[in-house]
């Protein structure tokens, strides 16, 4: 018994090291399974407050670019208004998706699993699994919220999966990211008889309840047959520049509970 205690005391550094390392590895492995560890993140209040303060200072340096994006978007919306058919106005009474606007206070794209923190939260009725888009296209899905802030899984996260289809046909596949290039994502499982050409627009498919059908994601950059020789694997150039996003919109599906009740 004395020897065991002596052994423990002599090797206390190594035992401490090993046990702490095991804690680290278990956190990391749990995460890799799929995002179980939600207690380590920067949307808790102290860190959000710091990032918020930093954002209020640094946002001024980016104003010109963001203004340009907003002007461009206004132009498109005006084009819509002026060309709208009169009969479609009635549709506005039944709103399928609520839109909340917010700003990115902490962007991240240098890892293989990126999360982005934004300055809207439960107070603005943001909940888990709401979709996030920029004015140009899809950027992510909310995965954690606090009362004033929330965090979303970026498209640039190897655990992010999304149903996507072609704008001009109905072939659909699964969108994911391989962690290599921050401008390119991969679209898999497209049947090989699909008529693909470089530059085709890829949009969200209607199979996901998170995003409405037809929000742009990106453009086909190149394509090749996958290992099974039956499906195409496409490289997609993202529509949004993930390294420079500031204004985002959070989409809430108002019919979600009704659709979910069908499955019960």
């Amino acid at each position: 018994m004395q020897r065991i205690i002596y052994f423990l005391i002599r090797n206390k550094d190594f035992i401490l090291f090993l046990s702490l390392l095991l804690i680290c590895l278990s956190i990391n492995i749990n995460y890799n399974e799929y995002n179980k560890s939600k207690f380590l993140n920067s949307s808790n209040s102290l860190f959000s407050y710091l990032y918020d303060t930093k954002f209020t200072i640094s946002k001024y340096f980016n104003l010109e670019y963001q203004n340009k994006i907003l002007t461009e978007e206004n132009r498109k919306l005006r084009l819509h208004i002026y060309n709208m058919d009169d009969k479609k106005v009635d549709d506005l009474e039944k709103i399928n998706f609520d839109v909340t606007s917010g700003s990115v206070i902490k962007n991240s794209y240098s890892f293989t699993n990126n999360f982005i923190t934004i300055d809207v939260g439960k107070k603005d009725s943001i909940e888990i699994d709401h979709g996030v888009i920029s004015s140009k296209g899809v950027v992510g899905i909310i995965d954690k919220t606090t009362s004033n802030y929330s965090r979303f899984i970026s498209v640039l996260n190897t655990n992010f999966l999304l149903n996507a289809k072609f704008k001009n046909s109905n072939y659909f596949g699964i969108l994911s990211w391989d962690g290599i290039n921050i401008n390119k994502v991969q679209l898999k499982d497209i049947p090989k008889q699909a008529n693909v050409s470089i530059g085709d627009t890829i949009v969200t498919g209607g199979n996901s309840l998170i995003f409405p059908k037809g929000i742009p994601i990106g453009y086909v950059d190149s394509y090749k047959l996958d290992n099974s020789q039956n499906y195409l694997e496409l490289e997609i150039q993202l529509a949004t520049d993930m390294a420079n996003i500031e204004k985002i919109y959070v989409l809430k599906n108002n019919n979600l509970s009704e659709i979910n009740s069908l499955d019960e």
Binding site: C24, I27, I182
Partner: protein, 167 residues
């Protein structure tokens, strides 16, 4: 006691600098320096090893919360804090064993080798755990090398400014 407080202040400054500034450099797309390793590499030599390992773990965990990563910084920092005495012995040899090494009066070549190896080990573990996929070994090595060189340069500049100036 005075030194203890000044060490805590150094650590806090490095944590904030890493979280708010160095994590957002994204040189050539995705290369960031992990300057907070400075604290582990040049922590005063005479100290309680158990206490140091525990401090390193907490220190890495705070960096993790800042960067939205999952205990990868904590693991990497933990490993280098554990290996530090062995690395010091390897690079400074007898001088370290007789406890005459002081960071403000060491040989330049030995110092550079020591710094490079400690940063390389840290980054290899960091990116290995972050990507966590052995089939992407080339990506791990590419990221490791890129960041190692960047971190090395920044930390060496800090070393010249902070530690060597005291002479």
């Amino acid at each position: 006691m005075n030194k203890f407080v000044s060490n805590i202040i150094t650590a806090l400054i490095l944590i904030f600098a890493q979280g708010l500034f160095f994590n957002n450099i994204n040189f050539l797309g995705s290369i960031n320096p992990f300057v907070y390793v400075f604290f582990i590499a040049y922590f005063p030599l005479k100290n309680n090893r158990t206490f140091f390992i525990f401090c390193a773990f907490i220190y890495g965990l705070i960096i993790d919360i800042f960067s939205d990563t999952h205990a990868i910084h904590a693991a990497a920092t933990l490993v280098i804090s554990f290996l530090r005495p062995n690395l010091l012995k390897l690079f400074f040899g007898i001088a370290y064993e007789h406890q005459v090494v002081k960071f403000d009066s060491i040989d330049l070549r030995q110092n550079l080798l020591y710094l490079f190896s400690i940063i390389f080990i840290h980054h290899l573990i960091l990116f290995g755990l972050e990507i966590f996929d052995i089939s992407k070994i080339s990506l791990i090595l590419k990221n490791t090398l890129g960041s190692t060189i960047f971190t090395f340069v920044v930390i060496y500049i800090l070393f010249e400014l902070i530690i060597n100036r005291k002479k």
